[in-house]
Structures are given as C-alpha cells and as structure tokens.
C-alpha cells in the first residue's frame, strides 16, 4: 500500500508522508505509554485498596450477597409497616420490628415514627444552612466582584476568605463545633452553613461580574451611591440566578447534612447508620425509602422552581458537590 502511494508521490510528497508516519508512530507510542501507566496505577490502586480493607473483596463477596438477601422483605407489607411503624406480626419483644422508642405522639394514640421527625430535622438543617449561606454569600459577593469594587485589596481579602470557607473540610468544622457545643444538629448546621457561604459566595460573585453594567451606568449618571447602584442596578438582574444557585445548593445540602448526620450530627443519617449496624432490615429499607422519596422530591421541586426562574440555562450539572 505505502509502496503504491510513494510510487505516485513527488519527492516532497514522500517526505511529508514519511514525516506523517513518524508523527503517527510517536503518537501511538505515547498512547500506549499512557495506557500502560494508567493500567499499572489502576492495578496498584485496586491491590492497595483490597490490602488495606478490613475484609478482602473475594472473601467478603458472599457476605455481601447475604447482606443484600437479608434486606429482602418477607412479605409485601413489611416495608410499609416499618415505614409507618405499625404493629408487625413478627414482633418478638426486640426493637427489630416495632420501634416504640422515640415515637412522636401528636394527640391521643396517634403518632409518627421517630425517623419522620429525624428526616424533618435533616431537612431543616439543610434549609437553614442554605439560608444562612445565601444571606452571607449575598452580602460578600458584591465586595468580591471586579466590576463593583475597584480596590483590589478588599476584593482579594473577601475572595481568599470565601476560598478558605469553601476548602476547609466540612467534617473538621463539624468536629470543632461538636467539641464546643457537644454532638447534635447545630454543629452540623455550622459545618454545612459555613461551607455554603464559601461555595455560594463564589458562584454569586461570578454572576455579578457577568451582569450587564448599563443599568449601573445609568444610576451612576443620576448620582446614585454605591448601595443604590447595587440595590437597583445589579440585584434585580442577578436575583434569578442567585436563587437558582441557592436551590442547587439546597439539593446538595440535603445530601451533605444526611452524611454529617451519620457521622454524629443527628438527623436521619445517624438513624440509618444505627439501623444498618443493628441489623434492623425492615427499618433500614423504610429509612432508605423515606430518604429516596425526600431527595427526589427536593430535587424535583428545585428543578421546577429553577426552570421557572431562569429557564433551562442553569442545568449544566446535576446536583453535585463542589
């Protein structure tokens, strides 16, 4: 083939052809090299993960299926009974099937199970910390925007401050406040809230920097001061985007507060961890179902509201922690 081509090509063409072949060979060699490196890294990583795990993968695999098998409910109603904490026919005196502990009695004999209350707790942590993050992020973002604050020092300080809030691992903030306030939902709120201030502040000031400055110019020409310019020129433009980002953050925060809860922040996360640890299969499934429904509901609600606020533009990433 190459013989045939080179027969037809001029001397210059042959040189170009040879050069191209060289480049292609080199490129292939690099691809192979990267591929082999990746393969070695993957093999090493998997070996390391398996070695440092408490149980080895192939030893534990049967137990995994046992565990999954145990979770299968014995009859169609078991999960529903657990979800609403109704009397179970399997009741044997243990807390495995009925959960009288922590029932919240509304009136008379009417109650709802503990984990509904815990779910509410987790949701409230998420909403309140998003609110706190929104309010502080809102006030900080204008100070960090290039088009509103000419002073580089102020901008730099505010931006670095938000970066620190964002980069600091949430779990450390939670642990620090847990040492002062003792374990509970409030350290979790601090942790999620502080992280949210940093995360939302960054997104907000990027929105502000992309705002249309014509309104601001007009206000300045009419003699408005800085606060009036921000309040009447910028805020109305950026508010839909701010709200959309805050809602996205709410989705993330519901998940984050569940996780922090499992570590010791109270709420549904802790309930789930205890339930799995104690082998209460029906209850575990009930909590997973409750969480699944709540998360999907929050996601759908937020997506609906965002679509109303800003159309389809803010759907670049699905609810993903940054």
């Amino acid at each position: 083939m190459s013989q045939a081509i080179s027969a037809e090509l001029s001397p210059d063409g042959i040189q170009i052809e040879r050069h191209w072949q060289e480049l292609a060979t080199r490129r292939r060699a690099y691809s192979w090299l990267i591929g082999i490196c990746l393969l070695v890294t993957v093999a090493g990583s998997l070996w390391f993960a398996n070695e440092s795990n408490a149980g080895k993968f192939f030893d534990r695999l049967p137990h995994f299926f046992d565990f999954a098998g145990d979770l299968v409910p014995r009859d169609g109603w078991e999960v529903w009974r657990a979800l609403f904490d109704l009397p179970s026919p399997y009741f044997d005196g243990s807390l495995k099937y009925d959960y009288p502990e922590g029932r919240v009695y509304l009136f008379g004999g009417f109650y709802f199970p503990e984990y509904f209350y815990k779910m509410l707790e987790t949701l409230n942590i998420a909403i309140l910390s998003t609110l706190v993050g929104f309010i502080f992020g809102f006030f900080f973002c204008f100070l960090a925007a290039k088009n509103l604050v000419r002073n580089g020092l102020v901008r730099g300080i505010v931006r670095r401050f938000m970066e620190i809030l964002r980069a600091f691992p949430e779990i450390v903030i939670a642990g620090f406040f847990a040492a002062i306030l003792s374990l509970g939902p409030i350290p979790a709120m601090f942790a999620v809230g502080i992280h949210t201030i940093g995360a939302l502040g960054k997104l907000f000031f990027e929105v502000v920097e992309n705002a249309d400055m014509k309104a601001d110019e007009g206000l300045r020409a009419a003699g408005a001061n800085w606060f009036e310019r921000v309040g009447f020129g910028i805020v109305p433009q950026v508010m839909p985007n701010f709200m959309s980002y805050a809602l996205l953050r709410l989705e993330i925060n519901v998940r984050a507060s569940t996780i922090i809860g499992a570590v010791g922040g109270g709420g549904i996360g802790e309930e789930l961890r205890l339930s799995i640890g104690r082998g209460h299969q029906a209850k575990t499934l009930a909590i997973v179902l409750l969480l699944l429904v709540t998360i999907i509901a929050v996601d759908q609600f937020s997506a609906w509201l965002r679509r109303r606020l800003v159309g389809n533009q803010a759907f670049a990433f699905g609810g993903k922690q940054s």
Binding site: A49, S52, G55, G175, L181, L272
Partner: protein, 443 residues
Amino acid sequence: MNALSSTAIADFETRYPEVFNPPLWKRFMPLFIAAGIVLYVAYCWWFFSIGTVIAGGQWQRAELYARDWISYAVKATVKMTPEATTVSYPRFSELGDNPNPDWIVKADNNITVRFGSGKALDINDQQVVATRGGESLTILIEPDGAKPQGPLPKWAALKEDQVTVNFGFAGQADIIPQRVVISRRFLGWANFIFDTASPFWNKSLGEVASMIVSGERIKPEMSNAALAFDNIWYNASWQHGDVWTKLLQTIVMAFMGTLLATLVSFPLAFVAARNIMPNFFANQITKRFFDFLRSVDMLIWALFFTRAFGPGPLAGISAIFFTDTGTLGKVYSETLENIDDKQREGVKSVGASPANVQRYGVVPQVLPVFASQALYFWESNTRSATIIGAVGAGGIGLKLWEAMRTNTNWHNVAYMVVLILIVIFIFDNISNALRSRLTGKQG
C-alpha cells in the same frame, strides 16, 4: 428637561396599569418573603433550641482548642519541701526522658520559671512570687492553702485553697499547697519528625545527616538511614505512616471510584440517549436506573458497602462508583442528546456500520466534554471522599474524626487538614490544567 403634563401621566397610567398599580401581593412580595424567612428562622430556633445550645456551649474552650492547632504545652510540677525543691515531668513529656529546659532555672532551693519577657514565677518552699508586666504577686504557701498577699491582679484567680496565675499564651501555673503545676506553651508542633524514643531525637539536621551518612550503626540489624525512616514513619505522636497511608486510601478511593463510574456510565449513556438508541423502553429503564443510583445517596451506599465489605477503601470506592455512575450517566446522556447530528449523518451516508457511526460520528464530538466532566467529578470526589470515610468507608476521614473526638489531639487534626488541603489544591490544579487543555479554554 420638560416636565410631563398631567394628561400624559394619566395616559401612561392607563396604558401600563401593571406597572403603576400592581396587585397588592406583588407590591408587598419582598415584605412577605422577609416575614416568611423570619418566621422560618424563629421556627428553627425553637425546633433545634438553638439559643439554649449556643448559650450552653463552652465557648472559652474554643480558644483553647484553636490554640492547640498550632502550639503545644509542656507540663511540669514543682514540689516544695523544706529539704529540697524538685521539678518533675510527666512520663511521656515532649521534652524526653531527662528534660533540662532553659526556661526553668534552679539555684539552691529556689526555682525560677520564665514565661517570656517580664513574666516569671519564683518558687521556694515558703512562697511563690509571680511577675507579669511590671506587676507582681506574692503567694505564701501555708499548710491549709495558698495565700495571696495584697489585691489580686487581673491575671490571677483564687479558688478555695489554690491560686491560678495566667500568663496568656505563654502558659499558666496552679499554685497548690506544697506544689506548683506549670503548663508552658510553645508555638509549633512538638517532635514532628522524631519522637522522644528515637535516637535521632533533639539532634540538629547536620547531626542527623552525619549519623546517617557516617555514624556507627545504632541498631545492628538495619542501617541508620533505614532506622531514621522507620522512626519517622512510626512517630508515636504524629503517626506519619498511618496518616499518609490513610490519605493515599482517600486519594485511591476518589480515583478508582470516578474511573470505574466513567467506564460504566460511558456505554450506558449511549443506551439512555434518545437519539442514539431509538428504543423507548431501553432509554427509560437506563435513565431511571441512573436516577436510582444518584438519589440513593452516597452515604447510603457507603453504609451498605461498609457493612458488606468491612470498613476500608473498598467500601468507599464502591460508594463513589455507584453514586457517580448515576450522576455521570445522567450528564453524559444529556450531552449525547444535544450533539450535532450532521456528523453522524455524514458517516452513515458513506455506509458505515452502526458501531462505526458511533465511533466516528459521535465519540469525537463528546469525548472532550466527557473527559472534562470526569475530571471535574474526580476533583469533587477527592473532597467528598474525606467525609464518607468518617462513617467507615476508608481513608483519612475516620482518623480525622477520631482525633477530633479525643479533644486533645487538635495538632494532629491540623496536620491532617493541612495535608488534605494540599492534596485538594494539587488535584484541583491538575484537573483544571487537563480540562482547559481538553476544552481549549480556561475551565
């Protein structure tokens, strides 16, 4: 500038009623929202009894804990008897087995403890004299308690029979009959490289280097360099080896989890994309499967796999793998649904097989986007891998959480936080650099 006539104003008002006379609810909307927020915050205040918890918090400890991040305290006890005044140190003191610090000066039966410039404690068996910033306080030591003479300065406090003298950051001393308990604080991390049990402890860099290069073997079975490494790796108070292994676990968890998720969600996304797989049921099933993986939170997967595989990075990898297969699958299939159809048509029109249509008509368009998304997730998982570790799914999270729960190891917490921040910083930059090369612009 012409003023508008009243007829013109009336004309405007009739023409744009929605601007000049908005409905009541629209006019007071901001007020309603603000009121709603205030009500909600009040409700949460009651729900979590925030006021009580915050008032009951031990805020004075916050400063102490924050201080422990970057400094350490050396404890010493001075015992006074008419025969002799002696200084003793706890068994595992930061100063080693035979401490002889220069801030404690012995002269006969007198001991002077220096707490920096202008701050000192002079101790003998009769009395203790504390000096701080020009003021001084004499405390007589009597069998029934310590008796301060004269008015107490702000930096001293009397509680029953003991006096506590506070020297600020430099430390404090409790004067109890017959003994003085001293806590002297220094900036920095104590014995960060070698612990006190190591033969290299308290040696300068030059001395350690010469011991490693030309010194006699301290332990006959291993070279000095190996011994030095061993001592650092198993440093009793900092546990470098353990911390670094756990950190590597966290990195591996994020890397493997994201890689596996990318590999699995890549083919599945083709099945889920409407325009590539025209089968409605296949689309819907794959999409709902992605939704399920995504909505069952990373926490739930982490708890399940920890239970199944035992605590360790395997659980973490699986948790990240499952969650991100869902999220990446969703993002990928949405990207695929938005591709330019012309290239596929072109490849199809020259008679390519269905597989080749995807390979040459679709993949080149989406590959940069896919890779950049995967990198973005890798970066973000490096952060979240810390936290799922705390529930037992491997990595540094659990170690961090345990160090915090002891309430005394805040310097270890600081060390781990610094390492995590460095790792996140490096990976952020790698991922950003790769992404901007892939997409051809600043990511």
